[in-house]
Amino acid sequence: MLQVLIQGLLLSGLYALIAVGFTLIFSVGRVLNLAYGAYLLIGGYAYFYFAQTLGMPKFAGVLMAGIFGCVLGLLKFQLIVKPLKGNHVAIEISTLILAVFLQSTVIFVFGDSSKILLPIIPGVERVAGAAIPFSNLFAAIASWIILLSLWWFVRSTHMGRAMQAVSMDAKGAAISGVDANRVNMFTWGLSGALGAIAGVFFASYTQLYPGMWVAPLIIAVAVVIVGGIGSIIGTLIVAHIVGFLEILTSAYIAPELRGVFTMLLIIVILVWRPSGLFGREEL
């Protein structure tokens, strides 16, 4: 029981970290960024290259991953999202193509085989039969800190309020003197950096391989859809619902079915309550 609880908390923390960057884009830019998973891919491989191949310190590796993700997010906004001018279907399709492009670029540079990422913080603690890798514990705590500070940032700083304004009404925000372009640039860069850092943790939790972007994308989609657009607290809650659902399924029903309930949750929520469980009042 305690084992399930601990594993559930660790996995949920990781999922929250994965989903938060996606939430940001979905609530501020209102676009479905299907290349979000590619940030995690690029982040994981950037960390692998800088920290493990070049032997830089691990913190520098995570930082480089964040920078790569940030630059990628900015480029994506400038080159794809902005020229398409809010055409949602076109953005979805072009980001899907971009994700496959980045995946095959990774294959071209690093090869098709999967890589083992050394844990960021080595060591395992055993509590009540559950192995707690320090890396996962760190990821869970980091995701809590990042989410809460993001929540504070969005509510209390000028930039955060501007993001909120743009997500509610882009025209109204523009009239009150908010530079929507700057807000969007900031959001895309931040989302990319968060995604890439989540990728480092995700890759050390599973493994590093070119197809690893699909699973986190679906998790992020599930969390954001079920939580409701633009709700950071909803993201945190639903990440725990999805995480515990998976751990409970694999512990008590069958490990192979762990993703099934996540999918069912997406379908049921989308059909039954498209605005999500937690509405969209708060960002």
């Binding site: 279907v89 072009s94 899907l96 193509i97 071209f108 099934v260 997406i266 379908i267 989308l270 498209p274």
Partner: protein, 313 residues
């Protein structure tokens, strides 16, 4: 109906040309063309639903997979003859299409795409664990009865299926039904405002798309002789279908066919230089460039070019 005699002349020329091809090209090229034919069928199926009505399906392998798995299970586990199992598979796929339809009656845009993506992943995970004695689990099934032997026969089968589907879709899209479907893609409210039942129209589009997907999927499996979940319910497969339809030109009949042939041959000709999956780098890069430059695809680019040259001689 707006049909002109030169339309039929072009179709006749196209059909004769496709059937004459095995006389001129090698067996290796023919095998590539068989895959292009099947990809064209899937792209036409995607285009019938998404290209026309604007409801983007990211889960088309869901439909193809229902058709493929139904016929595979029926022939492999219950010894049904292929002539009976394929029609059953097509009907099963149309029922599956109705299941996809239900959410589409309520939700639009990005959310519809997400539901279809979730459905594909759901089926992918279920197929591996629910009754693996029937579905073959993760490994799938092999040794399924094949319809044809030899490259030339396979080519004739796939090309006649593809051409039959393309021609009938072209004729259907020339009727008022086709116009109405394209109108949904432009402005759904306006269509229902002019007194047409949008629900009925959407249902027709879904059923046609599912029919083609099921037929194509079932015949494809009986050409390959094997089925595996990872090759079928794959986001890269979705990507290939969508890109084939888009790069050629969504909302047209010739577009998906041209796109499917272009992409299959591009991948084939890249093989000597880039043997592995990194070929998709060229492919997706090119697709992204074309899509960003002209979302209507190469067909629109070509008509633009001829149109311009007509104005300025």
């Amino acid at each position: 109906m707006n049909l002109r005699w030169h339309h039929f002349a072009l179709w006749a020329l196209f059909i004769v040309g496709m059937f004459a091809l095995p006389q001129f090209v090698s067996n290796g090229t023919l095998r590539t063309m068989i895959f292009a034919n099947f990809l064209a069928i899937f792209a036409i199926s995607w285009d019938t639903l998404s290209g026309r009505t604007g409801y983007i399906s990211f889960g088309h392998p869901f439909l193809i997979g229902i058709g493929a798995y139904t016929t595979a299970i029926l022939t492999h586990r219950f010894d049904f003859p292929v002539e009976i199992s394929i029609p059953i598979a097509v009907i099963a796929t149309m029922v599956g299409g109705l299941i996809v339809l239900l959410p589409a009656l309520r939700i639009k845009g990005s959310y519809f795409a997400l539901v279809t993506l979730a459905m594909m992943e759901l089926v992918y995970q279920l197929v591996q664990v629910v009754r693996p004695d029937l579905t073959g689990g993760t490994r799938g099934m092999s040794g399924l009865p094949t319809l044809t032997r030899g490259a030339a026969n396979g080519y004739y089968m796939s090309v006649s299926l593809m051409l039959a589907i393309a021609l009938s879709m072209w004729l259907i899209m020339k009727t008022r039904l086709g116009t109405a479907l394209s109108a949904i893609g432009m402005n759904e409210e306006a269509v229902s405002g002019s007194g047409l039942s949008v629900t009925k129209l959407k249902m027709t589009a879904f059923l046609m798309s599912a029919f083609i997907a099921g037929l194509g999927g079932a015949v494809y499996i009986h050409y390959l002789g094997s089925i595996a979940p990872r090759a079928l319910f794959d986001i890269n497969f979705v990507f290939t279908i969508i890109v084939a339809a888009l790069i050629g030109g969504a909302g047209t009949t010739i577009g998906p066919i041209a796109g499917a042939f272009f992409l299959t041959f591009l991948l084939e000709y890249l093989r000597p230089w880039l043997p592995g999956a990194e070929r998709y780098m060229v492919y997706s890069g090119l697709a992204l460039l074309i899509y960003m430059y002209q979302p209507k695809g190469m067909w629109a680019l070509m008509t633009q070019a001829t149109f311009k040259s007509k104005i300025r001689p």
